[in-house]
Symmetry: none
Subunit: 201 residues, 4 copies
Amino acid sequence: MPKAQVAEIDLKARRGRPRDARADRAILDAVLDLLVEVGYAGLTIEGVAEKAGVAKTTVYRRWPSKASLVVALGQDVATKVRVPDTGTVRGDASALLRDVIKTYTKTVVGRVIPGLIADMAENPDLAEATRGYLGTRRIMIEILQRGISRGELRPDIDIELTADLMYGPLAYRFLISGAPLTARFADKVVDAALLGSAPRT
Amino acid sequence: MPKAQVAEIDLKARRGRPRDARADRAILDAVLDLLVEVGYAGLTIEGVAEKAGVAKTTVYRRWPSKASLVVALGQDVATKVRVPDTGTVRGDASALLRDVIKTYTKTVVGRVIPGLIADMAENPDLAEATRGYLGTRRIMIEILQRGISRGELRPDIDIELTADLMYGPLAYRFLISGAPLTARFADKVVDAALLGSAPRT
Amino acid sequence: MPKAQVAEIDLKARRGRPRDARADRAILDAVLDLLVEVGYAGLTIEGVAEKAGVAKTTVYRRWPSKASLVVALGQDVATKVRVPDTGTVRGDASALLRDVIKTYTKTVVGRVIPGLIADMAENPDLAEATRGYLGTRRIMIEILQRGISRGELRPDIDIELTADLMYGPLAYRFLISGAPLTARFADKVVDAALLGSAPRT
Amino acid sequence: MPKAQVAEIDLKARRGRPRDARADRAILDAVLDLLVEVGYAGLTIEGVAEKAGVAKTTVYRRWPSKASLVVALGQDVATKVRVPDTGTVRGDASALLRDVIKTYTKTVVGRVIPGLIADMAENPDLAEATRGYLGTRRIMIEILQRGISRGELRPDIDIELTADLMYGPLAYRFLISGAPLTARFADKVVDAALLGSAPRT
DNA sequence: TTATAAACGAGACGGTACGTCGCGTCTTATT
DNA sequence: AATAAGACGCGACGTACCGTCTCGTTTATAA
């Protein structure tokens, strides 16, 4: 749910006709459909309004841009990723990365991200909002911290760097090199990233 | 040199009025200027034609899209990156990554890449062309192989993975997390990526 | 009044932002100006929009083609030709034809008709619309009928043919032979066309 | 045959490669084909060149415009209208007009004339050239003069006017009113035009 | 026999206009 | 107020032809 609506609830004493919640739904549904059909580049606000059976103004009243629309959709359907718990950092990290790979290669998310990145580069607010929900990276951070608590990892490791060593290669392959993203690749990346993290004997 | 140009020379027996090389120059110059002024998103073929003092058709005759135009510019001004040679893999890799970071943070390249990535995602040919020249990644591969020859690295390491472990975190920060790209970060990434690569004693 | 406008008034309950009448005016004014300046062949919708200070889309929203634009202008400024009444068919017909000649030789109408005819030939709807207002021919029919009522003409004459015998030679000279169109010619044509129409004695 | 070629024959002493007569043929053939396929408005010099299998320059070297091309085609295939000789002016005139009607309603000529008229209005030279061959009007003049010689018509009639009274109504129906052009109409027009021409008894 | 001059094909070039799309804003009547 | 509807100014799209030009390649005649 977008913040705006939370605020609405607080200031309950609003005058005039209240926003129609069905419009929100119809719009986000339309966005999802259209992303599947035409991709991010082909998505237009005009198209969204038409598909949603809603006036263009109704869309603009809620979201100012195509990117924000997509972000809203993301927040709406945000995969409530459950934190994996296999017992080992290696297992958890691997499970998480495999999940990320599946999302990017098998769902519409993968078709959206490149376009979103381009828009993010020109709109810091958007970038902020996107990172907020898009990242499963914070879950990885959590996994690593748990590993430290458990004594499975050395306490002095650079957690941020370690996370980047895992997410980076995935992003690189997905966005740039185009090399295949496989579960096996996820495992190799995890192993490499954790190489120096074992506690000293 | 790209194949296309070599071929052109071979098939020199071209019929009709030859293309005016000054137009190519003027167009690419205009593209560069405009990228600096308005960025990739703000770049339009119409604007390029006007700035170059050339008809729109003349631009379209050579390049079918804004992305291909930018790729051509890239090939044209492609930094003849000299392979670093500091004596050690660690030194070479670090020098290369620092160079990459400088290019992305200090030059117009950084303003172009995000948009280009979005277009690449929808146009495989474009992606192919881009990777061809844009990547300094092959230089990193070279460095690593040299390290193996020298006995500085174990011969059984996964070179591709190692390269991804270096370029990945950079790409991730640059495109997604927005975390700062520093020389120090480059060094840390190099160290982490090479952790398991030292030959057994 | 064309039906379309009547209908518009009836269905007054139009939704959405209403068309701006000033745009219609500005556009038709621009068309008239441009017809004088550059003629029908030189008229472009782009030019009309610019001269009218209006977006090209605004023109297209109203009229789909240059020809329809000109027809609209014609309907707009349609000479409210008053039916001549000199007392005799010969006098009336002559007055009318002289008027037609003046319009075609002294006004911009003459510069427009040839181009319009070419477009009409490829667009029946346009032809229909044009004939609707352009023709003063129906006035001639009226004059002839009045002549019959008065007993000035035989009741069994072929009215349509008689009208064609008058308008035809004018059209022929104007469009094809280029021979001069004079008041004297009008009179001769009228006389010839009415030759067999006098009532039997 | 265009004048230019006549001149060529005179100045026979031309150096350089002579024009290829097959090109003339191919071009005019292409024009005819295209007129049938796409009409005058749809005719383009580029299209003509392509269809003729000839370079655009080769077309331009011979004819400077679409209209002149069509005129050349007209001269080329100019119906060698035989002067009718039925024994009476009425019969001859009727036969001629019926022939004209057939040409305009059954052949590609009818699809070409309106466009040609528009171009003629802006290009006097073209108008001149067109009238030269297009008109069967001079044949009508001939018929009328013969009628006078024979004593079938009064010698003091206005021949030009009489011809206009015949061709005018046809042109009017064809170009403007769109009323049907029938053989019967031709006869009625002839009768009306000749009404006052019989010699005094 | 060789110049030389023109024709020819091919296609580049600067232009102009086309008709369309989508933007983000606005104006109206309705709910 | 929110909504549906749609007009509006705007910018750019990619295309079609225009008429001109510059090439390399024939193909005749004239030197």
